[in-house]
Symmetry: C2
Subunit: 318 residues, 2 copies
Amino acid sequence: MGEFDLIRRYFDPVAREQGHPDLRLALGDDCAILRVPPGRDLVFSMDTLVEGVHFPRAYPAERLAWRALAAAASDLAAMGADPVCFTLALTIPRSEERWLAAFAQGLSEAARSFGLALAGGDTTRGPLTVTLQVQGTVPQDQALRRDGAAVGDLIVVSGTLGDAAAALAYLDERSPSEDARALLARYHRPVPRLALGQALRGIASAAIDVSDGLGADLQHLLSRSGVGACLDLSQLPLSPALRRCRGPEASHLAWCGGDDYELCVTLPETGWHRLAPAVRAQLTPIGRVESKPGLRFQEGTPEPDGSAGFDHFRSEDG
Amino acid sequence: MGEFDLIRRYFDPVAREQGHPDLRLALGDDCAILRVPPGRDLVFSMDTLVEGVHFPRAYPAERLAWRALAAAASDLAAMGADPVCFTLALTIPRSEERWLAAFAQGLSEAARSFGLALAGGDTTRGPLTVTLQVQGTVPQDQALRRDGAAVGDLIVVSGTLGDAAAALAYLDERSPSEDARALLARYHRPVPRLALGQALRGIASAAIDVSDGLGADLQHLLSRSGVGACLDLSQLPLSPALRRCRGPEASHLAWCGGDDYELCVTLPETGWHRLAPAVRAQLTPIGRVESKPGLRFQEGTPEPDGSAGFDHFRSEDG
């Protein structure tokens, strides 16, 4: 099957199933056409997943598609954006119908779930790699950025942390326990916090998504804002499954583990009280922004190597 | 060197050197932020180049960066768009400083040359692959599309065709002739026809860029428009270097060869006469749109296998 037939057969239906009114032209031309509504800004982010680096070899195609789109959409959540569309650069060793059908199935589910229309992309032959660009919009000047954290702001995180990292130990388990299955679900089927990011617009002073590990991601946010923080790691939100499966290690995983796709947000105390109770219920305060750069720990100091997250090149070069 | 240091060292300068007023935030956050001016549409396209498939192994990094951005920007040219910005997903086997410095150098030259600001991206470890998304804007509803060709329209192509395909034979030549050097320049340093695309807005009825070969690309345009064409292949514009180097084969290369990044455009005869002489001088009429689907040839019928262009999967799957 040629490239064009292949695109048509598997990806046209994905584009048809989930459209978006702002997307005026998708697939089949040199470019897609998007009309950003007046008074809104476009925000966009690109993410790559490489086989053997970001996901295991022979990873099921359906899960791969979901994870790739979820990871990319998480960047939209961190900006407080309303999702619009995405492009897909799919590099595959050969055009295997079964694999492609499963990939399209996972992509379609994720696209519908996150409200992202497939706008275009490129299909090439080579080592399995998935690159996605997601695009969303926000009211002008209301995007949540990393550089707005102010001294005295609360630091809060959403959901629970460390589950996806803990799941790595169970990837090859043939009959995982119920707790292990709960952790595995966080790894295989992450859910970007899109609605939460939108609810934080106009209230949060800064935000970042936790993809490389809270320790690493929070430091990006603080250094972009030119501030530091004092944290109480005993407050890190841990799932019951994580506590039961990993005991004393749980807190370390929550601090260092990546792939949770939760949000880490700063906001003034007044903002915290203005949040709807249903929004506040998804967030846990873990510390406060301070003027002095760097991190201080009230309780639960992380292990010496615990401040670094996932860095694609560090293991080799540095 | 870690991923973040690497990005900072090599790509921050590229982003600083060539900005764009519509790009409100680039690099260093979860998303970039773009404000599309009122009355304009955003157009965007994604392209992947894989080592050993789209460019030879050990291809110089500087040339790779230029070619990748030129190929992507050519899709903006085909839409008649004004370039704005691009994102880069770079997958590399290891972070080699010399390679990265050369890649950044080529990228920077191309970015300045095409007026595209680096907005963001992702750097990962894996088999060498470059994915780029380019973004531009056009006045609302004025994007050149593939689906507007009308019966009776002239079919014209820009520049000369077949040069880049002919260059493949000279890639390993140690002291190529002057003619071969001219062909090699077309392959190594293609120039997207951005100004030409813009000049054709409001006049062309349809457009596509010639990346897979004129035969294949023209057929995409015609089939999207639901029409056919009668062509005179003796009119194909051939460079003197191509004629001299490849003689009777020249016309075949111009019909089937990819990577020229010229434009193939349809327009009504009245539009042809409205074009500024300097624009018309870049274009060669090669045929006319007809209602009957498919291609007819007045003169210079291509060889039987000559109607297909570059299709990433065809060689394997038929």
